[in-house]
Amino acid sequence: MDDFVDGLSEVTCDVLVIGGGTAGPMAALKAKQKNPALNVVLLEKANVKRSGAISMGMDGLNNAVVPGYATPEQYTKEITIANDGIVDQAPVFKYAARCYDIIQELDRFGIRFQKDANGDFDLKKVHHLGTYVLPMPNGETVKKALYRQLKRERILISNRIMATRLLTAKDGRIAGAVAVNTRTAEFLVLRAKTVILCMGAAGRLGLPHSGYLFGTYENPTNSGDGYAMAYHAGAALANLECYQINPLIKDYNGPACAYVAGPFGAYTANAEGKRFIESDCWSGQMMQEFYNELQSGKGPVFLKLNHLHPDTVGEIADILHRVERPSRGRFHEARGTDYRERMIEMHISEIGFCSGHSASGVFVDEYARTTVSGLYAAGDMASVPHNYMLGAFTNGAVAGEHAAEVAQEIDLPDYDADFVRLERERILAPTRRTDGIPPNQLEYKARRLVNDYLQPPKVTARMQIGQARLAEVREDFDMALVARNAHELLRALEVSSILDCADMAAHASLYRTESRWGLYHNRVDYPEKDDENWFCHTLLRKVDGRMVSEKRAIQPYIVPIETEERTAYERLRVSNQA
């Protein structure tokens, strides 16, 4: 294993799904169910059995819009406000209206959700305004249940294959993708009529404070390949300056408070043990308050459980140590932290792109269509904001169904053989060198520069220096990067995506000359929100080989927002503390 094998093969299918984490399996299932005659291929860099953010399952389903608890109108309103109004409501509303079906379907798959004595779904309130969190008592079984369905529908799964670029036809339509076997470096051309990108967040952009390259909040397989591929194919990417930054346990990349411990009475506190935010639900505004407290004389910030009954703490620990990030218990044990006695130190995560948790993603409409014909995106990498795991499932389903409908109507597009030849050369270049800079060093440097220059608070001159320094690293990538085996080549190709994402982060952040979304886009030299000029989306894309950004008007709201409602998320700080 890991030795280079010289190989090139071509595969043809109708619908190609790239990324078998959360959205991908659902997209593949729905495409196949829509038309069982179609040939559906699911491509995965890791192994679908245990890949993606939900590798070890999850403790709760966000954001569930369940009759009796919330309506699609309420949810659409909440997300519009949480995202500072920069929302096309159609995809959010469509998600909200569809997701209850998907919950019931997942329940039938054997992923059981918490129910009350009457057998009705039993949700918890975490968000500022509405109730949308549905606990999953057997959350660790999610991936197994999905895998069973994939086998049943006879979806063709290709594991340990990393997609690197998309293929387009002369008329601009999508024509497939190219990929590399991560254990042999064999090259693969996948021709398809429609392609669905489900490659998760860009989670390996910033460097965790620990300095450990793989200690990221996101599953580090999600190195931003999807963002880079969409960019190079000419698709538009929306609001990339609206970074993902999350509150985590210090040094351990597990989330903590809001969604699990919060409903039991735990909360985020300062060093005095006092609450400083009204709602622990994640948003840019919440992160700004978190950051302010962290930097203040009352910092650092803690997760507080030690006021709860010991049995309650036991119940919380049982959930936290079983699913999602189950090595968490070992981390605390090694440090001698007992939740019952001491508050747990928290910190903020590295930066990334993610729509699941914020709003930075490949632009999609309510059918999960990108701006490239035949190309779809769903899950964390698609621009539907704040849609978490249930968003990945639901929009994956939407994408799968639409992509199947289109694929059955069209012929297989031709692709450009020259492009494939050049891409193969690009990929294999680091394997042709015997001497140079290994991928781990290049990655460390790139991500250290991202931290030094691109993370908020954002300053114009600093970001410009960052661009120049990152350009030097890119030159090293092109001229000196060496990969001695297929595994190192996998890491090298991931660095290529990381560099692309870093460039996009800088470009998008410089373009929006205002501050918005709390900490996510806190531009120190443009400290005010400027609705007059910037109440709009920004779209970034590649035009004639160059990165350009433009404004895009927000589609007229379907659900109107009252003026006083608009600012609800700006009033998160506990009032007697201000």
Binding site: A46, R183, T216, P220, F331
Partner: protein
């Protein structure tokens, strides 16, 4: 630029007495999302080849003999 070898203490440990890779098992290698485990040519047992771990635990959870222990990487401990 010649390459040096920098030692690193890996977080995942395999109990060779329990590991049945020599009987054909490759479960931990198959499931690891980061693809950092391998079967050793020398010992025919599983081991952590690359220090690129998310300490996520599928390897430990899915091992049929309980041979794998996931520790927290030293830098985070």
């Amino acid at each position: 630029m010649p390459l040096a070898l920098s030692p690193t203490a890996v977080p995942v440990v395999v109990d060779e007495a329990k590991c049945i890779a020599d009987k054909g098992c490759t479960v931990c290698v198959d499931v690891c999302p980061l693809d950092v485990l391998r079967i050793s040519d020398l010992t025919s047992k599983a081991y952590m080849k690359f220090d690129e771990c998310w300490y996520c635990m599928p390897c430990e959870t899915d091992c049929p003999t309980g041979a794998v222990t996931v520790n927290i990487p030293y830098l985070l401990r």
